[in-house]
């Protein structure tokens, strides 16, 4: 019986100590990890979208509250002036969600471009949404009437990957919708 109690005591002691240590380490690192994830997952797509900026969009990100939940917005700035914003939305793909980073010019008149952040599509077909050929159709596109040709728009779908193309377009449209909700807050948000 005493042996049993000692076993239980030692085991719980070790587990407790390990839990405490891990929680501390986690607390100390969580902020930097979030930033690292943003830099390496969202960062590359931001580089594809914006060409003319001199800030670090990941570092300057701000979170806006929306009825549908908070959204993280990445700004592009040149000489301290906001030139564009980008944020991530999700569309339904063939093999799971497609994450699309959508960039806007500050006044919202047109898209700056899009970049794909996460994707689990069939290689060779749906995965081709990441290729410039498809992506570039969104650069400089006006924010209304974004649709595939089949639905009366002017975006050419990838042949053989209608679902992925539709998913991307719907993600972009959702982004436009969100943009309109936060449009008024944008110009003042990054003034310092």
């Amino acid at each position: 019986m005493r042996e049993m109690l000692k076993m239980i005591f030692v085991l719980s002691l070790i587990c407790g100590l390990s839990g405490l240590t891990l929680a501390t380490v986690r607390q100390a690192t969580s902020e930097r990890i979030e930033e690292q994830v943003m830099t390496y997952v969202q960062g590359p797509s931001l580089k594809q979208i914006f060409s003319n900026y001199d800030n670090n969009p990941v570092k300057d990100r701000k979170t806006f509250d929306l009825p549908s939940g908070p959204i993280t917005v990445f700004p592009a700035m040149k000489d301290g002036k906001l030139t564009g914003v980008a944020f991530e939305t999700f569309g339904k793909g063939y093999g799971g969600n497609i994450g699309v980073m959508v960039g806007f010019v500050t006044d919202g008149s047109k898209l700056e471009g899009i970049g794909i952040t996460t994707l689990k599509e069939t290689p060779g077909l749906g995965a081709r949404v990441v290729e410039p050929e498809f992506r570039d159709q969104f650069s400089g596109h006006s924010t209304d009437k974004i649709a595939l040709k089949k639905q009366g728009g002017n975006i050419a779908a990838i042949s053989g990957a209608t679902i992925s193309s539709t998913g991307t377009v719907s993600a972009v449209n959702e982004a436009v919708n969100i943009f309109n909700q936060i449009k008024d807050k944008l110009p003042t948000a990054w003034e310092s």
Binding site: E3, K6, M7, V10, L11, I14, C15, S18, T21, L22, V25, R26, T29, R32, I33, Q36, V37, T39, Y40
Partner: protein, 225 residues
């Protein structure tokens, strides 16, 4: 002092983990596509191995024999979680490259094997020396295998271009088959070397490391978790 050096240096050649003891094969094969991946994995293993040896040795009088394996697993797994968090903080690209093999350090036989076979029976300073030695040996082996595969597979070494324009990358080396064959040939080379040394001393040739689960150390601890 000499004892300390002995425990440290045995991991560098005499008991070189992957090539002589044939332990922890999965990461050896999986993360050695390039030299720097192998090196990064090795550093993570040094961290876990040295600290887990230290902690196990410190706690060895406290831990009841019946639950020792469970305790070792908790210690090793906590350290692995630390490594995961630290790697995400300071070396995120490496973390992405190594993928699931970072959490899998916890089931690397070397960690539990050394805890059971050495650290639980020896004082702290020797246990740390043993862990560091084994870890450094593991890192050197991984970097060596990674260098060979990267050199032939990409024509580069630690990302630097080594081969000239004439070089046609030998893709076989960076894929799974190349990993197996390459490791097999290195082990065969080690055996040849051992046998050559033995022959010079007038001893009979041996077949070298026989890998079965007994060498794991862990597996000999069947009863009582």
């Amino acid at each position: 002092m000499s004892r300390l050096w002995k425990e440290f240096s045995k991991g560098l050649w005499k008991d070189l983990p992957p090539f002589k003891l044939v332990l922890g094969l999965c990461p050896v094969l999986a993360v050695t596509k390039t030299a720097d991946n192998g090196f990064g994995m090795g550093l993570a293993v040094i961290f876990v191995l040295a600290l887990s040896n230290m902690l196990v040795s410190m706690l060895r009088k406290l831990i009841p024999a019946k639950v020792r394996i469970a305790c070792f697993i908790v210690v090793a797994a906590s350290l692995v979680v630390c490594v995961e968090l630290l790697m995400q903080t300071y070396a995120y690209p490496l973390y992405l490259q190594l993928g699931i093999f970072v959490p899998l350090i916890v089931v690397n036989c070397i960690i539990l094997g050394r805890a059971e076979a050495f650290a639980s029976k020896n004082p702290v300073h020797l246990a740390v020396a043993d862990g560091l030695g084994m870890g450094v040996g593991f890192t050197l082996s991984l970097t060596f295998l990674g260098s060979i595969r990267e050199l032939f597979g990409y024509g580069t070494w630690f990302g630097m271009q080594v081969m000239g324009d004439w070089f046609q990358p030998f893709t076989f080396m960076i894929e799974a088959p190349g990993a197996f064959v390459c490791l097999g040939l290195i082990l065969a080379g080690m055996n040849t070397l051992t046998n050559w040394q033995r022959k010079n001393k007038g001893l009979e040739a041996i077949t070298g490391p026989v890998h079965d689960c007994k060498s794991c150390g862990m597996c000999a601890t069947k009863p009582g978790m």
